[in-house]
Amino acid sequence: MNVVGIDSMIVIWAGCVPDLNTESWPKEKIEKRAEMKRRATILFQLFARKKWHIVLPTIAIAELLVKVPEAGKANLIAAQGKRFICPSFDPRAAAIASSLFSKFKSLPADQQYQDRNVLKADSMIIGSVIAAGATTFYSHDAAARRMAELSIKGKDLPVRDPDGQFDFPDEQDE
């Protein structure tokens, strides 16, 4: 049984529609959205194919709920719970998070988080992922991956399908 953790951004990237409402956006943001959509989808295809169990902690779900109106929050929580393992921040996660927080604060300055609140949120998310038994944490954020690597594996989203089974049609001839 393989258990892996993900951050909230992976769900956002996987769920976005690359060319929707983007007329007024800078070109690089449109391109990034399309690229991250592709990579997040490859990752989910990989998870589905390997039947891995995906941990998305409730603290990460809170981040996803930021843009959702009050009346819709419960729907999104329920939909995530159907597809992902959504552990709460439990006593063991608290202990792990505090250790990650302390260890990370002792890393060199150039490897630190720029925002203390993000450091705190990430330590709680990764603490929950580790407490749930995950052995790998996926995130596009380098600092989050560094934090995960203090205890488990930290991995970025794949650029290509490692099994060569999934690519968007316009990428297949590259």
Binding site: V17, T22, A48, Q80, P87, D90, Q114
Partner: protein, 274 residues
């Protein structure tokens, strides 16, 4: 055999002998129930071999104890240890731990001693006596003594409880007297015996044999190692990503689509980022 080698042999035999003494008023071998003797000797054998009951089902044969004599005064059980040196070191560790349960003498190995100490403490309570472990060839004083209630005293602060989520595969569910469930949990060598809140839930679990579940409930961990000691299942789910397109479409429909209008979601969630 020369006199010197005879002495060496006697020393060896003596050093290999472990004594378990039941000390108390009116205690004699014939008054001690057989079950109490076997439980106590099993517990001493676990401590001598440093068996981790969470990971090892049995004491390795070469590290076991053999009962060789029973004597009066109050009641003395002489055993021969397979690995006497190791047994003496382990008894010394137990003694240090019992002298200072909050110290770091056992650190993350506290789980190894708790089960045998619980058994010995219960026997001491049942028989209203003190159990003492000696290795006469090495030391005149006992390596450690167990009195009634010692387990409760040392474990007052040894555990932490709380609600949690456990991912595992159902191996068995049900039970004639208590409703229980056996889970195979990733990263754990031995199967986890769980209590279940009611029969209805046990029946539901029974329908998920050999399937992965995400169980929520109350756990008790060893506070130094966060090793899971007990878990009572209150409920469970079986989330599954399934078809990716369907999953994403469903989550979008449930509210994720509100993120469509955000040009830089990373900045919104993570502030400035690399």
């Amino acid at each position: 055999m020369s006199q010197l080698s005879m002495q060496e042999n006697e020393t060896k035999i003596s050093a290999e002998t472990i004594e378990l003494r039941f000390v108390g008023p009116g205690i004699e071998p014939q008054k001690i129930p057989l079950r109490a003797v076997t439980d106590a000797l099993s517990a001493i054998q676990d401590l001598a071999s440093w068996r981790d009951s969470f990971e090892q089902a049995k004491v390795p044969q070469d590290k076991g104890l053999t009962l060789v004599d029973v004597r009066k005064g109050s009641a003395v059980y002489d055993c021969i240890a397979g690995c006497p040196g190791e047994a003496a070191i382990n008894f010394q560790r137990v003694g240090l731990f019992l002298n200072e349960p909050d110290g770091d003498s056992l650190s993350d190995q506290i789980g190894t001693v708790l089960a045998p100490l619980k058994a010995l403490s219960q026997i001491a309570k049942l028989l209203k006596c003190t159990l003492a472990v000696y290795v006469p060839g090495l030391r005149a004083e006992p390596f450690f003594k167990i009195e009634s209630g010692i387990y409760e005293r040392i474990t007052e602060r040894a555990f932490v409880s709380g609600e949690t989520t456990i991912i595992g595969e159902v191996v068995r569910a049900g039970g004639a007297t208590d409703v229980r469930c056996l889970l195979r949990v990733p990263g754990r060598t031995k199967l986890l015996y769980c209590d279940v809140v009611d029969e209805k839930l046990a029946r539901r679990l029974g329908q998920c044999l050999y399937e992965p579940i995400v169980a929520t409930g109350t756990a008790r961990w060893l506070n130094r190692t966060w090793r899971l000691v007990t878990f009572k299942i209150a409920d469970f789910t079986q989330p599954e990503l399934g078809n990716v397109d369907e999953a994403i479409s469903e989550i979008r429909g449930a509210g994720l689509a509100y993120w469509d209008e955000v040009s830089d979601p990373e900045s919104l969630i993570r502030g400035s980022h690399e």
